[in-house]
Assembly symmetry: C2
Homo-oligomer: 349 residues x 2
DNA sequence: TTTAGCACTCTTTTGGGGTGAGTGCTACCA
DNA sequence: TGGTAGCACTCACCCCAAAAGAGTGCTAAA
């Protein structure tokens, strides 16, 4: 662990603050003038040289100021920065924006993503992962063709998932209706993650033994839920906000970043990982996450939202390494918290 | 109407072809060498001067070549250009890409959009407008709370629409189940556009008079379908392809264009208009469409897809004014045609 | 330990001259 | 009279050199 003196910390923080604000390399003069402590540029230069030796700062070229390295940012985030508290009316603004959303959960999530993007002036992202945590509410079978069944699965929170299943034998709508009646009965409120188990139990019970048809229904449900569980939705909004950042002025970088957004499956994996990794706010900086390899100059601030203790999904903000973390972190934190509350309510019906 | 001599046309076409290829202003020398007719640059220059006077060409600065104006492009598209025929294996490629799509209609449409974007190396777009043309397949009511009902509407083509409805009186799930049974019966295969009428008929019939409950159900359906009809889905893919075009090298332009994409409602209106306007391929150039005002340097090639004679939606390609229309037009045309066929099949179940 | 001073480095900006592509015009030719 | 050759002219673009500016490292002094 790196040991920093009090002054080292102050200088590092001042440099990072200034860099976050301007995006330019920061010189010793600036720090000397801005920072509260009265020391000359020359002194600052000595400190800076030390910090550079520790790998916390970096000099683009000999006669330029310093910019923080990823390592420096990390240290800053972990042990120096104090998050601003969100003001009351800022919280109000977030609450308002989410509460006035239509009740359709898809729109709620998309709206959350948009809110984050607008409020932080970066790209906002919401991952609603797999229904694995959701509870069963309703299932419906529709016959599309002799062997072709559409399965519509609805979770308690109101999320819809549709799957197509091919049946091996011909099947009538009337039969399907019987299935759904039966299945809706036995699976009511069962968490999707336990549906599998519940079905196994059911199939071992007498009823299923008597009726081959119902066991077929159960198999279909099993498959449908398998698909549903593997499916995730991701909502990325406000990508164009990133264009405002001077660090992405070059078209080349821009392309790389926007292309990364187009590959949703990779984004899903990345966010999914952060979901598993932590229960609180999490920050992934450029080179740190393996999956961010494509855009080393980017950074992700994310927080899970949950029902009770069970995480449901992740939301966050994606932007350049140079972001106003002290502002963005509390926003992300609060939004996650508030979204959790909203979902709690939505799930009680 | 502008009258062009044979030679004027040949020169205009040659200029546009060269411009489409290179993106640079075209000089008289180039045309003189490339074009089949043996005339000197000086002669070409005279013709060019004429064309410029007619407003078909434009000179960025005194000592540069000419580029076609929107008016020139329009004339070219309307009366000079001959579309290339699509080769058999090109058609095959499109067929393959669409046929191997999952049967989920959302994925089919998104896939079509992606196909167009990849194949034309521009942005692809598919509008699935309003269910107004679709036929009723199935409806399902789910009780979310005492007064809160989720209505799930499924069209024959497999499109799902969910709406939340607030009921004035408390309502039980058992009751809702009765509703859906009844309504699924009376609305089977009715085009959504005629549901309204059908419901009115039903409400006037004896049955409804006897049962206040069912008339309530009908009202709920009516509202749900109202919402559904006003809803459209738009799938835009491959936006980053646009970054490859040298004309968008400047970040400013890029931002404006990508921002226009983010405002989906405007895109929907634009495409919706082309759907109403024409039954065949349609090209909107920069300044022509009012809605394209934000990006005058863009152009849209679109074609409706349909079932029988009824248009279902629009698909197309969005790119710079300088696009290889002779290639893109037949691609868009064929894709629309083939998608229509696929939907025809999907709708038969 | 801090500071002032100074030489040095490297980027960025500015301006001017050269180059090349392309034009418009005029005179000439079939 | 339509086409062509020639020529002067106009710009945009590139290159280079010089100047400006920001910031550093080092040394010597407080």
């Amino acid at each position: 662990m790196i040991e920093l003196t009090q002054r080292d910390q102050i200088v590092l923080e001042a440099i990072i603050n200034d860099y976050i604000e301007t995006g330019e390399p920061v010189g010793s003069r600036t720090i000397s003038k801005r920072s509260a402590m009265n020391v000359s540029p020359a002194t600052i230069r000595n400190v800076m040289a030390d910090l550079e030796e520790m790998g916390l700062l970096h000099q683009p070229h000999t006669s330029a100021g310093r910019i923080p390295t990823v390592k420096g940012l990390r240290l800053y985030l972990d042990s120096i920065m104090r998050s601003r508290q969100l003001g009351g009316h800022e919280k109000e603004r977030i609450r308002d924006a989410l509460q006035n959303r239509p009740q359709d959960i898809t729109e709620l999530l998309r709206g959350t993503s948009r809110l984050l993007s607008q409020y932080c002036r970066q790209a906002g992202v919401v991952l609603w992962p797999k229904l694995s945590i959701a509870s069963f509410k309703h299932i419906e079978f529709l016959r599309l063709g002799p062997f072709d069944i559409m399965v519509i699965l609805i979770s308690k929170a109101g999320f819809i998932h549709q799957t197509h299943i091919e049946s091996k034998e011909e099947i009538a709508q009337a039969e399907l209706d019987k299935y759904s009646l039966y299945i809706n009965e036995i699976l009511r409120n069962v968490p999707l993650s336990r549906v599998n188990q519940r079905i196994r139990e059911e199939m071992e019970s007498e009823k299923a033994l008597f009726d081959r048809l119902f066991s077929r229904a159960l198999q279909i449900v099993n498959r449908a839920i398998q698909y549903a569980i593997e499916d995730s939705e991701i909502y990325i909004e406000g990508q164009t906000n990133l264009l405002d950042n001077p660090e992405f002025a070059h078209v080349e970088q821009m392309r790389r970043i926007l292309q990364a957004f187009e590959d949703k499956s990779k984004m899903i994996r990345l966010l999914d990982e952060t979901l598993k990794a932590s229960t609180g706010i999490q920050i992934v900086l450029g080179t740190e996450g393996e999956l961010l390899r494509e855009w080393q100059e980017m950074s992700l601030v994310s927080a899970p939202f949950r029902r009770g203790d069970t995480p449901l999904g992740v939301l966050g903000v994606i932007g350049p390494l140079r972001m106003d973390y002290s502002r963005i972190i509390p926003i992300v934190e609060f939004t996650a918290e508030f979204l959790s509350q909203m979902l709690e309510i939505a799930d009680e019906g």
